[in-house]
Amino acid sequence: MIKLSNIYKSYHIGKEEVPILKNINIEIKGGEFVAIMGPSGSGKSTLMNIIGCLDRASSGVYLLNEQEISTYSDEQLAKVRNVNIGFVFQQFQLLPRMSAVENVELPMIYAGVSRKERRERAEEALRKMGLIERMKHLPSELSGGQKQRVAIARAIVNNPNLILADEPTGALDTNTSTSIMEQISALNLDGTTVAVITHEPEVAAYASRTIVVRDGKILIGDEKESDNL
């Protein structure tokens, strides 16, 4: 489902070119649950941004659902993010002035779903996350775990085939973390591909495969090595 071949990414700091990712090759199959680990500065966030179509590789080929994303325009990338990918962030990234249900409706606004259908689907997603009775609350009136569950509801509401979670439990206590990871696992069991970026081994333990990134390279877990494992 995801195939990264020879992905190279560098940033220009002044006149100097700083490589972030060097020759990355990853393949993630549909329905897999993958953890991407690595110390800070390893390039794992950049990797996630590229997979999430928020950023482009400097060179290399990225195939998502057999489509070559590397050649897509900004408008097309926005469409891919909207339809194919659900994001879960460490800081939840909910819009503070909107209620839980309005936050969940947001991706559907950009997908052009009608108002009535939006509300129905948003309520359904919140119900799945066990937050239906809190749907009218503003994010500031919700606990961390509840906020993250709203964010997950928002991530799944457009039925994406890939969920990208960037440190989804980074701002949560242990008990809440466990319940959030269980919810993400449940989504994976329903058939959604999940990629979690984390530096916590407890979180990575939920994944069926772990990819470790260090200094812009895949240390373990790329396709060849996982075949060998």
Binding site: L54, E75, I109, Y110, G112
Partner: protein, 397 residues
């Protein structure tokens, strides 16, 4: 994403910062309101001046101005009467003429007991009373009997009433005009029009003038047409007739009041345009204010933009969101300005007795112009928002 969705978002965002939104709109409100007031009063004033000049009675003035040659051949030409009784009779038969209004005005000493005044004695024919519709404050107007039998009666102007009678009741009193007694039967209302100067005047029937002072020479003559559209034609026929009767070439002419009114109208138009464009500049300044606030808003909401982009908002959708928001701001401002300007113009016309015209063109123009301001000055901030890099925007604190 539909425009309705954008408008809904824009409203919730405008409402989220009420104070800021109101202050931002203030520039547009003041700009639009002042344009509306200036244009409304300008157009009203123009209309008023025009109607003051042409009057509502579709009349046209005929005047006599001898040519150089005629003056040379007869140096006493001004001593002769410009219009005679016969002229009046002939003119009344011209097709389209409803009334021939004739009057003469002579300065004469007017006296009541020990008070004296130098007044304009207006000897008028009956048609004058019908056409000019003088308003009577006290007593009555000259009537047909006065004209037929040449009664020694007069209607005095409000100003003369002040001078001779100190505003006390003058009705029934006898005033002396050049040694002749006249009974005051009426006092005119104080004139409030733009072009009235408040003179001491006495209106007496033309026949009375003849019996009291001798020969009457009409100095002013105007024609009332049956139809306002015939005015020019009637005037031409009348001057042709008069020039033929007096064997003059072109000495009898008509004053085309419409032309005068038009030229005055064009002056007020220029004035309105100048003042209006100054007010328009304040609209421009208001627009810059909107741009400023929108730029601040984009910076403040960088994270929101990042989130929206991550969730699949395209550049175009973000651009539209901010553009609709700035148009919403300017449009609300514009509509408020129109309402405020309209009530301002109404107040001015109410207290100053000056008509004000609010045409739908001005209202539509105000709405479209404020929308255009919103688009023009919203473009830069909206474009800035649309171009934000989603990753950096998400990281923004």
């Amino acid at each position: 994403m539909s425009i309705v969705e954008n408008i809904r978002m824009a409203f919730s965002s405008v409402l989220a910062h009420k104070m800021r939104s109101i202050l931002t709109m203030l520039g547009i409100i003041i700009g639009v309101a002042s344009v509306i007031v200036v244009v409304a009063i300008g157009q009203g004033g123009e209309q008023m001046i025009k109607s003051e000049i042409t009057g509502s009675s579709n009349t046209i003035e005929v005047y006599y101005e001898p040519s150089e040659e005629e003056i040379q051949s007869d140096p006493n030409i001004y001593e002769q009467p410009a219009f005679t009784e016969e002229d009046l009779t002939a003119l009344s038969k011209v097709a389209g003429v409803k009334n021939v209004v004739a009057s003469s005005s002579t300065q004469m000493k007017t006296q009541y007991r020990d008070k004296q005044s130098d007044s304009a004695i207006n000897a008028v024919n009956e048609a004058y009373i019908d056409v000019n519709a003088l308003e009577i404050a006290k007593g009555r107007m000259l009537n047909s009997t006065d004209f037929l039998s040449g009664n020694r009666v007069g209607v005095i102007s409000n100003e003369l009433n002040e001078e001779l009678f100190k505003n006390k009741n003058a009705l029934g009193k006898v005033i002396w005009i050049k040694g002749q007694p006249f009974e005051v039967v009426g006092v005119t209302k104080k004139q409030t029009g733009l072009l009235s100067f408040g003179m001491t005047e006495v209106y007496i029937p033309d026949n009375t003038y003849r019996s009291s002072f001798g020969k009457l020479e009409y100095s002013t003559l105007s024609l009332q047409a049956e139809d306002a559209n015939q005015l020019k034609q009637v005037g031409n026929h009348a001057t042709d007739l008069l020039n033929a009767l007096h064997k003059t070439e072109d000495s009898y002419q008509v004053n085309n009041l419409e032309e005068v009114a038009d030229s005055i109208g064009s002056i007020t138009k220029i004035m309105t345009t100048i003042i209006g464009s100054i007010a328009g500049i304040s609209l421009l300044v208001g627009g810059i204010g909107v741009m400023n606030i929108m730029l601040v808003s984009v910076t403040e909401r960088t994270k929101e933009i990042g989130i929206r982009k991550a969730l699949g908002a395209s550049r175009k959708q973000i651009l539209m969101q901010f553009l609709v928001e700035s148009v919403t701001l300017t449009l609300i401002g514009g509509i408020t300005g129109i309402l405020l300007g309209a009530s301002g113009a109404f107040l001015v016309s109410f207290f100053a007795g000056w008509p004000s015209l609010i045409s739908w063109q001005v209202v539509l123009g105000g709405v479209l112009f404020s929308m255009t301001i919103g688009i023009i000055f919203g473009m830069l901030p909206a474009n800035k928002a649309a171009k934000l890099d989603p990753i950096e925007a998400l990281r923004y604190e």
